[in-house]
Symmetry: C2
Subunit: 309 residues, 2 copies
C-alpha cells in the first residue's frame, strides 16, 4: 500500500508535489564546489561531494514543505562509482527524513536482468548469509517498451509485504514524445496501449484508496492527454513531470487529479533546485531559501486549482 | 566510423558474434567467491571482486575468438558503487584487450538528463580543467520510447571525431515484446516506426560500409521479423540478442546478414559464460575453457549459414 503512503504524505503536508534532485555543474552553487575541491581536489570525488552537500541542504530545507523527492540517477552515474556512492547515501538520508523517495533511473530490461535490477533496487543482496540493501527507495521509474517480461519481475515487490511502487512511463513531458507514444494503433494510441498494460499488470495491486501501485508518468506539458487519460484511467495514480522549467502550469496539471484532489503528484526539478539562479545577483549561498520559496509557491499555485482534502 | 571498426574486427576474427558479460551469483564459480570472500569478506565488495576475477578471466580467454563484448550494467549496479567501480575497470580492461565494447544499460531519458548521460558515457567530465572519463566504451544501448529528445544528445558523439555508436532497441528478443512493439500503427508496426526513426536520426551518420552508426537491436527469437527488417532497412547494422539460452539459432539469425555476410553481429551471454554449468560434474574451475569452446562452437555454427567475406 505504498501508493496509500504516498497519498497520506501528500495530505499531511497538503502538497501534491515532488522535488527532483538533478544536480549538475550549472545548478550547484560555486561555494559548494570550492569547499569540496578544497578537501578532495578537482576530482570526480570532489564533484560528488559538492552534489552531496547541495542535495543534503535541499533535503534538510524542504522536509516540512514537500512530501516526496525524486533522485535522478544519471546525474550521479555521470561521475562513476563515486557519484553512485553519494547517491546511495542520499537515498538513505532522504528516507531518514521521511520523504517518499523515487529513484529515477528510467531503465527497461527483460528476464533475468530485470530480476537482478528489481532485486537490487527493492530487495536484498546476499553473501554467505550477510544481507545488503544497496539502494533505499520507495520506487523507481521504469520503461515498458519491452512489454510484460520487463515489468513482471518488479510486481512481487509491489505487494503489501514489500511496499514498493514502480513509476511507468506512459506519456512523457518532452515534445518529441508524440513520435512514438502518439502513434495510432487501432482504437488506441501507443501510450494508451501502455496504460492498458499498466492496468493489466495492476491486477491485485490496488491500494486502499483504489489506486494501483503502478504509478503512471504523464507529462504536464500535454494537458489534453492528461485530461483524457484521467477520465479513462481513474484507478491509475499519475506522476506529472514537466512542471515549471519545461512549461507545465498549475492550470494544466489540475486535470491530473480526481474530484477529491487525490490521485496525482506533480514533479518539478530545475524550477525549484535552481531557483537561486533567477536572481542574477545571487552567488548561490541562498539556494536553500530560494528553493523553499519556489516549492511553497508551486504548492500554493497548484492549490489554487486543486483542493487536497 | 565506429560501425566500420566493428565490421573490421568481425572480419579480422571471422566471427560475427559478441559475448555478453552478465555475472550473477548463479554463473560465477564457487572458487572465485571463496577467493574474494577470503580477502574482502562476504560483502558487496567481495561479490564485486568475484565478478571482476570471473569477467577478467573470460576477457583474457576470448581475445582471439570474439571481436566484441557487451557488459551488462544491471549486474554491477545491483551491488551499488562497489559493483560500478569494478564495471568501470572492466570496461577499460576490455578496451585495452582491443575488444569492441558495448555497455548495456538500456537507459532512455530526455533533454538535459540525456545530455548528461551521453556526456558521461561518451564524453568527458571536467573539474577545474582536470578531465575525467569514467566509462570507457564504444557504444551503449538506448531505449527510444521517448522519441528524438532522448536520442539527439547522443548523435554528436556518433560523428567521426568521437567514433561512438548507440544500439537502439527496435524489436527485442523477449516473448512479450509483441505487446507494444508489434502494435499496428497505420501501414507500420510500432517497431518499424522505431526503425524509421533510427533512419531519420541517421542522417549524415553512415560509415564507409554504408551502415548507420545507430545500430538496431533485433531479437534472434523472431526470424520472420529479422528477415522483414533486413529487407526493409538495408542500411541499419543489426545487433541480434537472444542466441542460445533464449532460443535463437544459427539458422534463424542468418537472415540478419547482408549478401556479403556483413551488417550484423549476434550476441550470446549465458550460453557462453555459463557453459561450464552444462557439465554437471564441473566445479567451474574450467569456466574459461568451457566458454572458449562454446564461443568457438557458436562462431562455427553461424559460419555454416553465413560467409563472412
Amino acid at each position: 500500500m505504498s501508493v496509500d503512503v504516498l497519498q497520506a504524505k501528500i495530505r499531511k503536508l497538503k502538497n501534491p508535489s515532488m522535488v527532483g534532485l538533478d544536480p549538475t555543474p550549472e545548478v550547484v552553487p560555486e561555494h559548494l564546489f570550492n569547499e569540496a575541491y578544497a578537501q578532495y581536489g578537482p576530482t570526480l570525488r570532489g564533484i560528488a561531494e559538492a552534489y552531496r552537500a547541495y542535495c543534503m541542504g535541499l533535503l534538510d530545507e524542504l522536509t516540512d514543505v514537500v512530501p516526496a523527492v525524486k533522485i535522478q540517477s544519471a546525474c550521479f552515474e555521470a561521475l562513476g562509482y563515486e557519484g553512485v556512492k553519494v547517491m546511495q547515501e542520499l537515498l538513505s538520508y532522504a528516507k531518514e527524513l521521511d520523504y517518499y523517495v523515487l529513484l529515477d533511473s528510467m531503465r527497461g530490461d527483460v528476464g533475468n536482468i530485470a530480476e537482478i535490477y528489481a532485486k537490487a533496487m527493492f530487495g536484498q543482496i546476499e553473501a554467505r548469509g550477510e544481507i545488503f540493501c544497496p539502494y533505499t527507495c520507495d520506487a523507481i521509474t521504469v520503461n515498458g517498451y519491452l512489454g510484460s517480461d520487463g515489468i513482471k519481475p518488479f510486481l512481487p515487490y509491489l505487494q503489501d509485504n514489500s511496499q514498493k511502487n514502480i513509476f511507468l512511463l506512459i506519456k512523457t513531458s518532452n515534445k518529441s514524445s508524440r513520435e512514438l507514444q502518439d502513434l495510432i494503433a487501432g482504437d488506441r494510441v501507443v501510450h494508451t496501449a501502455m496504460a492498458d498494460l499498466a492496468m493489466r499488470w495492476s491486477n491485485g495491486l490496488f491500494g486502499k484508496n483504489g489506486y494501483s501501485e503502478i504509478i503512471a508518468v504523464v507529462g504536464a506539458t500535454h494537458p489534453y492527454d492528461l485530461q483524457t487519460l484521467r477520465a479513462k484511467y481513474d484507478r491509475l495514480f499519475f506522476m506529472v513531470p514537466g512542471y515549471g522549467a519545461q512549461g507545465g502550469t498549475a492550470k494544466n496539471v489540475q486535470h491530473a487529479f480526481d474530484i477529491y484532489g487525490h490521485g496525482a503528484i506533480i514533479s518539478a526539478s530545475r524550477s525549484i533546485i535552481a531557483a537561486w539562479k533567477k536572481d542574477a545577483q545571487s552567488d548561490g549561498r541562498n539556494y536553500r531559501a530560494a528553493a523553499r520559496a519556489a516549492a511553497e509557491k508551486m504548492r500554493d499555485d497548484i492549490l489554487k486549482f486543486v483542493r487536497v482534502q
